[in-house]
Symmetry: D3
Subunit: 131 residues, 6 copies
């Protein structure tokens, strides 16, 4: 159970409904995920989060699929179960193949491992990295 109520369309204020509608329009689906329904308890937080996320995750210098995979990488390191599920689903929708998923997992595992080794040994930063 969530620590806040999930706001249904019926319970939503006009301000919240406007965000819900924009989510539906941008994503091309009727579904409004639980994350947004939870955030809707604080309309200012909902609005700020959605408008920034829409901007950050859209097309730009990086491919939207790459952005989803970066999101997964961060969420795994932070252990955010919901985020891993939602962004893995989004990555699949945006075309992530099983082979790409496998490589994503391999890189995450490798990074976790060497993060631990480097930190345990307290390796000093090489001068050549600092340019």
């Amino acid at each position: 159970m969530a620590t806040v109520p999930l706001i249904s369309d019926d319970q939503a204020s006009t301000e919240v409904l406007a965000v819900f509608d924009d989510i539906r329009a941008v994503r091309g689906t009727d579904e409004v995920n639980n994350f947004w329904r939870a955030l809707a308890n604080d309309p200012a937080l909902l609005s700020a989060t959605w408008s920034r996320l829409k901007e950050v995750m859209g097309p730009g210098a990086l491919d939207p699929l790459v952005k989803e995979m970066l999101y997964i990488a961060v969420s795994v390191a932070n252990g955010c179960e919901y985020c891993i599920h939602s962004h893995t689903a989004a990555a699949k929708t945006k075309g992530m193949s099983p082979a790409q998923h496998g490589e994503l997992l391999s890189v995450i595992g490798m990074a976790m491992q060497t993060n631990g080794l480097v930190t345990a040994m307290q390796v000093p930063v090489d001068g050549v990295f600092e340019v």
Copy 2:
């Protein structure tokens, strides 16, 4: 200072030198970074880590630059200073532009933020993600 000695070429065993030489050959540089010199205290760990990393980070279904950015994303969430420096340097060498770096940072920041919000609210996973 590291918690283990950094093994110089002069101190390295034949087994370790062979790994150092492969690192130099694969990366096209004379430099062998401190991480490998620290791992060299345990030749089996050095060899296993390098051979796996070489395989994981090479070309495949994902672009090597994308892999470097995924590595950065994990390392940031884990707070691994050395790893952030080394893989940001590697990403720049592989062509990461300032615009791509900016978007990488924006995605990391966004993911960290929503990881925190989701976790704080303990949002239940939507049924639609589980396919």
Copy 3:
């Protein structure tokens, strides 16, 4: 399922029952939460944890509600689901309003985001902070 049995009142030793009774008295409830029943497998650990927690979370230079919110903030960053539920419930019992909860979430999200940005950019500490 827990990795240790949850100790019921019937299974509890005299030493453990004394801690359970103190928990009931201090909190003004008959309920002894699962955390304490799990810790009760090691009476010394139970006793040390409860006596220190009682002291730390009581009134002092900081308001008990503020302490609950600080507890939530740490627990979110560590991803401790049980802790988030128990301390959010405690904060509500101590008077946390929906508006305060919303601001708590906003600060946590902001801190997570800038933690990630600062770490990714490896920003050097300003001299003015070090006083």
Copy 4:
């Protein structure tokens, strides 16, 4: 060293200078910290982060000093050195006493400890928390 250049006033675009000036005005100081100078490499990220932070950390249902302490709590759990320094300095500026600092530390330590204990024992969430 940072992984991005720190943008001086001389190097800043008009858009970036406007944010720097607002930071100076809101904080009542000539100093613009390294964090903002690092973010300034991406003016959109700088602007979005500053405008949201200004809103979140200002007065509201929670006291600004409480917000600084919450920020410290999250930053400690995430191990963000820069953030700990900057927000501890800010908390002192906003009146955090040594006694309050000591209690903040005690709560952080207590939360970290019980986060670990709960997670290690995988304690199931009590029904009474879920209301």
Copy 5:
């Protein structure tokens, strides 16, 4: 639900089945845990992970039970629920007594607490540690 399918024996390729059989032989059980069935979607990742894990976790300079407890300690700090369950089960199989489990928990809790305190106070490393 997992983000990848769990590969049954019937679905497994010859390469994957060979790893499953080695797992069964080394562990002396017919059971192949979900972790390996999930990894089996990427046979190279499955094979690399199993062969390295088998080597690392076997007898050596450290007792296999000590290695399981170290695994638990890392998994707790990272909040990996599955890993905590699987390695606590493995530690019990290898002879971890309730008293040893209690001390493991106490050390984890103590380390988490002082990690937080040290980080919050940004204590400089003593010269005597750096030898």
Copy 6:
């Protein structure tokens, strides 16, 4: 620089000096590490932390060297630089050999890696673990 002053013997109260003296006696050294000098700003926190740590890290069902290695494992996953240095030094003093250190590092790396893989794939806990 620390966020609190480091208390010298000259600045210490009688209560703090008594703890410092006990640290010297138990550890058989004149050195009082910076961690204790930082905690000394809050005598109650200093005293509670030292008395509990002395109890937890002493001989018991687990060997003191094993406890130091567990401490390192947690501290690495939490990225606590000071703690890694201090407990690696303590482990060496208690007899950790280079071979043991190498295996400790290997287990930490392995655990970090599989923590990431398991979390990324959201592997469901096997029924056999739950006993």
